[in-house]
Amino acid sequence: MPHQCTNCDRTFADGSKEMLSGCPDCGGNKFQFRPASASNVTDSGAGSDGGSSGNARVADSAESPSESTNGNASGATGTGRSGVTGAAADAGSAVRDWVRGSSSDSGGTTAQTERRSKSPRAWPGTESESESGTGPESDSGTESESDVQSTPADAGVADATDVDNATEATDASSTTDAATVDRSEPDPSADAEDRAQASARTDVVSPEELSAAAEQSAEEPDADQPGLSELRKELNDQFESIKIVNPGQYELNLMELYDRDEYIISLREDGRYVIEVPDRWNDGDEDE
């Protein structure tokens, strides 16, 4: 389901005409596209962004601000450095932690703190925010938080959060929105949030999208989920002539290989391959 209403989360099939005149359920006219395999880059971007804003708030509501602040700050910069895949994987496990945690944990702050200190990410932080109430956090706390965080972008985010605490309605920082978006997801009471936030929300990745993407990227190696393996099979049936199960383990779709115009001449470990286009075929085969 590639399209999703950002307001009520209704999903639409690719190419659906229904959504052209707005969401039939809520009338919303903002949709986000969710490809079957969400790209890692988006994930990591949203993950680390959300993480930093989450961190800012975590410190405010946490019992031991100094401790969690240090942990989070170093975690955040670590994520920034570790590159795209690391961040995505990190976000992936974070989301899974969070999903698992939120079902069992009904407002226990200790559990949250624990999760938070172990995983400096957006969702735990924002969840804590929702549970501690959307009430005004101490600005000074946020401020000091932003100082600790080393990334300039992060500091900016924290500042924005700081300012926005006073006037949340005019909240324009997308990262802060990321925080508020999550709040609305598990907590129905938060639906009363203002339109400005709702519309600004289109800029950020929804928690579902992130969790879906994270699950996908995280489950890729073991594929023990029937739904996922089914999906993969379907995709393979559609696209793949050579499937790399693991390094050194391949499954081949002979019919697809036979039907292709282009000719695969070399495989790379990372799943790329080099092909020879048909019109050059006759020059290339003389070397062996």
């Binding site: 391949y250 495989l267 075929w281």
Partner: protein, 213 residues
Amino acid sequence: MGLLNGLKDSVTRVTERLFSASEPKRIGIYGPPNAGKTTLANRIARDWTGDAIGPESHIPHETRRARRKENVDIERNGKTVSIDIVDTPGVTTKVDYKEFLEHDMEKDDAVRRSREATEGVAEAMHWLREDVEGVIYVLDSTEDPFTQVNTMLIGIIESQELPVLILANKIDCEDSNIQRISNAFPQHETIPLSALEGDNMDEVYDKIAEYFA
């Protein structure tokens, strides 16, 4: 004038026929891994040109690039049939490096071998589509011929209307079962042989001359 034109026409016709007859057909040797394709290719090439085509091995996927031997002239009953032999990598639907570990291979080598084998299958399939005019399909007669690979490849070959010879190889092995292969592909003639020992190669050459002339 008319006489001259007629003469020209007939000269052209003769030269055309001459060239088309002398152009060797490209015959692909296909089959699953370890069926004895390279052993057969080497035997044919050695018998008629003196050279071999490529290394043989009991480890599957020894041939990972298609190898060609051009202008192999096979003489049968006073006539010469000229063919280009293409020895292709064994075709399979699954390649797993673990299979090679059993043959005392290091993991890195095994992984590389399986990658090359996979590329080889892609190459073999491409040759089948683009470049061969006849197929020698080699099967290990000690193995069950009812496999997805065999069914699919024979199906493709039939759909292309390529002339195909089915060879039941390894008849020197005790558990060889030629009947099982001829039962599997009753629409084609099955010729038993041992490429390794050179058993029944005369009949193989007879059939090559008959099918690919």
